[in-house]
């Protein structure tokens, strides 16, 4: 058997860091907006947690706190009408993709004005027209869907690419394997973004994998791949920006592993016996928001006061969203069997 195509899996770190310029060349306004998005995610989750405690969100919710740099950095590196697919821990991706906080919060409260008219909830928020192909309650469930969206992009030559988010746990799903292989043999424009937050529910990555880096799986598909610091939004932005160009120019799929950490329990019922308070503390010290804020402060793009105002503005937005959500009506019972078929 001959070597089939040029070996692609080797990416030099310099390929990515060479283009530090990418982030640098962003308009100041956008750089600041990225901070605001991170705050939006952080505070959206805080409000969500409160609703859970108060019993107004009755289902399960998976909070994205601590992982903000990955969603925001990656999605800001895409074109506006590129596609994303998200996960059960999807609020962050959704917000970064520009979703309306009101309609998100309303959905979580199961109200008629939510993104899914109250039918989907946290794990199914989608906004197909803006390219958000949806959260997914099935771990890894969106990996092949993202791949299919990339097939559309390739067939229609519409210039779009797909960013597919999934967790470390999802990288052991069978459809991960089938989908990445297809993307590779068909050179599909999709960036697989593995959010390695160290655990799949209670299972540590070091028990569910026998490899040092999940991005090593690139070798199974002769795919370009790299592992980066998912808490460094600049690094995330630059990496995904670089690979977005790569995909868009027809060079095929990419596997990017973002190392990050979930601060909160897996879901509300999690007693977190599988990890230590110290471990959580170390990661909280690596807060991606603080880190990015310091970058902007250092660059003189914002002042301490600006920062406080941005955060206060976000808190105000959330207050509005909560109000909208609480005042919105529940769906009418006539709706229950609607929307099953087109």
């Amino acid at each position: 058997m001959e070597k089939l195509k040029t070996k692609k899996t080797e990416v030099k770190v310099s390929d990515v860091y060479d283009i530090q310029g990418s982030f640098q060349s962003l308009p100041d306004r956008v750089k600041v907006e990225m901070l605001e998005k991170m705050y939006q995610i952080r505070h959206f989750e805080a409000e969500t947690e409160q609703f859970i405690i108060k019993g107004q969100i009755h289902g399960t919710c998976h909070l994205y706190v601590g992982e903000e740099a990955t969603a925001v950095g990656a999605i800001y590196a895409l074109a506006k009408n590129d596609y994303i697919t998200s996960t059960h821990r999807g609020h962050g991706h959704c917000i970064a993709k520009g979703a309306d906080l009101n309609r998100m919060m309303t959905e979580l409260l199961g109200k008629a004005t939510g993104y899914c008219k109250g039918k989907g909830g946290s794990m199914h928020i989608a906004d197909v027209t803006t390219g958000n192909l949806g959260a997914n309650g099935i771990v890894g469930g969106s990996i092949d869907i993202a791949t299919g969206a990339a097939l559309t992009c390739k067939i229609k030559e519409n210039g779009k690419i797909v960013a597919c988010f999934f967790g470390d746990g999802a990288a052991n799903r069978g459809n991960f394997h089938g989908a990445l292989n297809m993307a590779s043999i068909w050179d599909l424009p999709v960036i697989y973004i593995c959010e390695n937050n160290q655990y799949g529910m209670s299972m540590p990555v070091k028990e569910s994998f026998n490899i040092a880096r999940i991005s090593e799986r690139k070798h199974a598909y002769n795919m370009v791949g790299i592992t980066i610091d998912g808490n460094d939004i600049v690094q995330v932005y630059n990496t995904i920006r670089h690979f977005a160009d790569h995909c868009r120019s027809g060079k095929g799929p990419v596997l990017v592993e973002c190392l990050t950490y979930r601060w909160k329990g897996h879901s509300k019922s999690d007693a977190q016996v599988y990890r230590t308070k110290e471990e959580v503390k170390t990661w909280i010290e690596k807060d991606p928001i603080v880190r990015y804020r310091n970058v902007l402060l250092k660059e003189g793009l914002i002042s301490e006061k600006d920062d406080r105002e941005i955060e206060a503005g976000v808190i105000e937005q959330l207050k509005q969203a909560n109000k909208f959500a609480e005042e919105s009506p529940f769906p009418d019972l006539s709706q229950v069997e609607e929307d099953v078929y087109a």
């Binding site: 596609y83 697919t85 939510g114 993104y115 899914c116 008219k117 109250g118 039918k119 989907g120 199914h124 989608a126 906004d127 197909v128 027209t129 192909l133 949806g134 997914n136 309650g137 099935i138 469930g141 990996i143 092949d144 869907i145 993202a146 791949t147 299919g148 969206a149 990339a150 097939l151 559309t152 992009c153 067939i155 229609k156 069978g174 459809n175 394997h177 089938g178 989908a179 292989n181 297809m182 043999i185 609607e338 929307d339 099953v340 078929y341 087109a342």
Partner: protein, 333 residues
Amino acid sequence: MDRKREITYLEAIREAMQQMMRINPDVYLIGEDVAEYGGAFGVSVGMLEEFGKKRIINSPISEDALVGVATGSAITGMRPIVEIMFSDFITIAMDEIANQAAKIRYMFGGKATVPMVLRTAGGGGTGAAGQHSQSLEALVAHIPGLKVVMPSCPYDAKGLLIASIEDNNPVIFIEHKLLYKNKKYIEHVPEEKYSIPLGKGEIKRQGSHVSVVATSFMVKKAIEVAEILKEEKGIECEVIDPRTLRPLDIDLIIDSVKKTGRLVCVEEACGFGGFMGEVAAQVAEKGFDWLDAPIVRISGKNCPVPYSLVLENDMIPGHDRIKEGILSIFEKA
């Protein structure tokens, strides 16, 4: 146009795909060995030549990802036709079928469509044993969001497949292996594109004594048995082919039962938990007042499909078992 043209079930299916692909550039065919090979049963032979590699796509052996990929392409504007070689393998893609394709629209609050057709070859009688011979329609018919179609003849196959490709929902289209190239059942199929609405059954043979609901290849057997019963016993069976299991044309069935007072259900699938339970249950609820006799189901026996021809013939309902089943209802009544 040759009005008398008679073609096989397989040719009818191929023609439906070809005609839709000519009209609509968003339609493509994807599946294992569908390109050069023309699919395991030869359904897509020649299509690679006409439509090229971009629209007739060979898939690696990854049924789960295959259906997921088709789903993802469907929500973003394509209209995939997925071929799953044997219907037994839908089990591998069951999550993509039942938890993704079927539910996306509802879970998204109606804000996505999944116009996908999953074509697959069902049924036994080929000596291919337990993992290549099943009739698993009950597994998909139970899932809201899916439509399920099982054509029993070339005319229906073409019209229903066109309707399925035009439909904006995921449709599971189950073909029968013994019908594909069956010369006995060739029939006139118009060359022009036509469609048969999903959800409309058809009375394949009029009769007044007993309503016989059958699906797929069993429709053919039921019609043949009906002729025998007419000859031998003067019994007139009304043979009803629902054609689509979901949505089910229950009114057609109930109307027939109102006329005959008797219902026999014939399916190739294992009886226990099979689809005909649904038909029987609906009639036992909505048609109860017109029933003069117990509802009889004639189904595959409750075991995997055995390899040996003698056992397989016994497991799958044959003419004799159908005949006895129908006769039993007259004894019981």
